[in-house]
Symmetry: C2
Subunit: 163 residues, 2 copies
DNA sequence: CCCGCTTAGTTGAACTCTCAACCAGGAGAC
DNA sequence: GTCTCCTGGTTGAGAGTTCAACTAAGCGGG
């Protein structure tokens, strides 16, 4: 176990930069959203996913997978969103174990109100500082990492089914 | 306010990929550390910073700045690390308001024990899947973002003082 | 039909993080 | 000296996340 391949100076630098970007990005985005709308970033993500689905409803498990949250986390989150009146739980007609999460009109309204500020912040932090070429590079690098982890790329056309 | 510059399809893809990478990376690294050593990733970071300082001690404010944590967060974290016996608080001789955090021998030992597994995980997740060229690109992109946010780059030689 | 295995989802406790309020000591003006 | 402002750091409450334990329902074999 003592034959660890440590990071050399260059790798250290890259790693620190990456960790720093990770941290600051999350912090900034969450702070902006929380301050201006009261919605934590992670809940915003859920609202977005629901809003993009036809019928604005999704099985809990589907929603969890799409947003890459644990079932537990999602369950807690949806409970909170339900208390806020932004999401409604409905039992699934085809599987009695299942639950559907449905975005309410109030939830949609809150999302619509929050979106511009959030997108503006994203642009300010990530897209504006980089050239188009660099943005593309960044996307490709991230996708390559994701693929190496066994996920499907985000850029390519709708990865709905595997057929 | 309605003239928001929304993300086009390509930007959406890049953004989703980035968010996904952010999330998974944090989750995986934290889980590995927590599982194998019981140390949360954020506390590990603190131990690393202390271990790299001559004398293995640092002012709370210095430590907070280096690790990019809020003072409050750091204070809570150091309290926890103190309970574990890995860090000791000492009052600062030159400024009675100040506190020093000092890494204990036990803390150093825990860090030494935890490091190989962590570095291996980092390699597995980030460095192995990418070519040397891509790693360099990634570092440059992250540094460019950091600089645009007013931080100093991570790759370049020690940004200790501004003189 | 019933037993065991798996999947869907929830729950509660323990832990971390954030935010705002707070105390104490330094630093300059008068 | 003392008044005021600023800086260093801590604290407690509230909120989100994780983990493990749990319920309920589908699924398959005997």
């Amino acid at each position: 176990m003592s034959d660890t391949r440590w990071l050399d100076a260059g790798e250290q630098g890259t790693w620190r930069a990456l960790v720093s970007v990770l941290g600051r990005l999350n912090e900034q985005l969450d702070r902006q959203l929380q301050r201006d709308t009261g919605i934590p970033l992670t809940y915003y993500e859920i609202l977005v996913r629901l809003s993009e689905t036809p019928g604005r409803e999704l099985r809990m498990s589907e929603l969890a997978e799409q947003s890459e949250y644990s079932r537990s986390r999602l369950s807690h989150a949806v409970s909170k969103l339900e208390k806020l009146g932004w999401v409604r739980r409905k039992s699934c007609p085809t599987d009695k174990r299942g639950q559907l999460a449905e975005l309410t009109d109030e939830g949609m309204a809150s999302l619509v109100a929050a979106a511009p500020g959030h997108v503006t912040e994203v642009r300010k932090l990530v897209f504006d500082p980089l050239t188009a070429r660099e943005v593309q590079q960044l996307g490709e690098l991230c996708d390559k990492l994701r693929v190496s982890w066994g996920d499907s790329p985000c850029d390519s056309p709708c990865p709905e089914t595997t057929q």
